[in-house]
Symmetry: C2
Subunit: 330 residues, 2 copies
């Protein structure tokens, strides 16, 4: 039996909450016998769900943080929201990690404020697996820190290296800095400083990457500030979505194209699955004490299930402990 | 007959120079009887090409700036390179505009240094048409200014508005700021300052855009610093390229998929044409005195031809004059 892990889950997170969240919770419990889940949300939802269910308990909450609210403010004000309560369960030791597909900003704010950071780390960073058709790559930061110092990026790279090794089992990941040219002298003043620091202090640093290198998987880890990383991530998702929509229109043009589309459907479904972010189920906020994984708002039950599994894996591998050892101390 | 326009063209610009450049020059001359071109490059290439050709002359040069060279340094050192000479022809009034598919950095440096800026403008900006499957959109800056002040972005937006109106005939383009959230309070300190300035001073400002809005064409103009813009542009190009490569592999799986691909080939070719940057032939450096358009290194003869036509159009519409009137004076 896998090691026992207790996690808190936000029943209200995501566009299709609570239904798909509860479906994901049930599926995760069925697949992992070492798992125990505390479901946080309104009593009339979480209590009937947990009643009589093995390794599942309810933690009723009375408040809800909406996607549109100012994250830090909402977290300060709504102390009995499912997000804040979930993070507090980790802080108090009742749970070892927290999973939510709710407001990314609120999860980041709550986890950072409530759980605290691993020792020596300047800023936790939102890290995501980008499912390239070639092979999965990791990008960090994708939105936790819109304004960064070059030193943060060194720590982001060190944390992403540990994550990729422990969770994605890539033994020797190569890190690239997102920039606007390959040469050392390229980019903004910030990018040039970050380059010099990474070159001097990160053994697995492989140089500058351009936007085109990301989905082509020309490196394993793409390190950048949270502004650029978020724009990149959304640009990749949006470009794929727009192109697949245009393809679909071509497929539906007439009887002939519909037949043609049928012939390549199997391969296309395979490609869509390979590049589906649901496979990875969420983005870890690396560097908080404990584990916090944030899922896409549009997460399916499968995405929720996979996100919970990833959270359990992060706890079982003691990622917090490994990150604390990995980051350069200022 | 269209108005007479004299332009300088860099015979050495691009991965397939000089052959495709000269092919593009010949095609442009054939299509536009008002056009006269001065072809800059090694004497043994440009002189035989121009000899006996109507509305075409040769301007022999002895130096060449390579894609790998440090742009500003190369421009200072290589005063007899095709790029510097082309820009000087504009400065001296022998030509009204310059087109090159060579080193973007060198073209930007040479045009800015040699041609000078329109009055009141802080920084010229590299502007590009992104061929979305929905409809073309404009992004500015895509690489001329890696470090920006919020005031620059206001001027970029004003210039891009003029460009879109005059050259792409979009009467009332809506400008969005590239950011990491829709709300006014989102983003880096820089993005928040730029938002406030655009909101206060740009009548056609429509708010924040995220990465996913670009290829979806949810706005007409995407304004950003040159670092973010370049990363976005390369990410879109790279994502498309990687996805089409994966699609091609699916098509070639077996006899059935090959037949299927054949059925949708027409539609797919149409889509590829719509999103082909060659259609637009190059990115104008908006804000220099005169006109400077930089083509993709991989430009085809068609792209070169279209780039020359765009340069002529920019001159005929007196874009420099209109930009000078459009930009807010500090």
């Amino acid at each position: 039996m896998p090691d026992k892990v207790i996690l808190a889950v936000d029943a209200l997170g995501g566009d299709h909450a609570p239904a798909v969240v509860l479906e994901g919770v049930a599926a995760a419990l069925a697949e992992d016998e070492g798992l125990e889940l505390i479901v946080c949300g309104p009593a009339d939802i979480v209590e009937p769900f947990a009643a009589g269910r093995a390794r599942c308990s309810a933690r009723p909450t009375t408040e809800f943080i909406d996607m549109g609210e100012h994250p830090a403010e909402a977290v300060r004000r709504k102390k009995d929201s499912s997000i804040v309560v979930g993070c507090r369960l980790v802080k108090e030791g009742a749970a070892a990690g927290f999973y939510s597909a709710g407001s990314t900003g609120a999860c980041l704010a709550a986890a950072t404020l409530v759980m605290g950071r691993v020792k020596g780390l300047a800023r936790p960073a939102l890290t995501t697996v980008i499912p390239s058709p070639v092979r999965p790559v990791v990008m960090c930061d994708v939105g936790a820190n819109a304004d960064c110092k070059p030193e943060y990026l060194l720590q982001f790279a060190q944390m992403a290296t540990v994550y990729m090794r422990e969770i994605l089992h890539v033994e020797d990941p190569r890190v690239a800095l997102v920039n606007i040219g390959e040469e050392e002298t390229k980019g903004s003043a910030f990018a040039q400083e970050a380059f010099a620091l990474l070159k001097a202090q990160l053994p697995n640093f492989a140089g500058n990457a351009e936007g085109g290198d990301i989905l082509a998987a020309n490196f394993d880890i793409f390190v950048t500030d949270g502004f650029t990383g978020n724009v990149c991530l959304k640009t990749i998702e949006g470009t794929s979505k727009t192109l697949f929509k245009a393809l679909k229109e071509i497929f539906y043009t007439n009887a002939k194209t519909k037949l043609g589309a049928l012939a390549i459907k199997g391969g296309l479904t395979g490609l869509m699955e390979r590049i589906n972010p649901d496979t990875y189920g969420g983005a870890p906020l690396l560097g908080v004490k404990g584990a916090c994984i944030v899922g896409h708002g549009s997460s399916s039950a499968t995405a929720i299930k996979n996100g919970i599994h990833t959270t359990a894996e992060v706890v079982r591998r003691d990622l917090s402990g490994l990150l604390e050892k990995a980051v350069s101390k200022p």
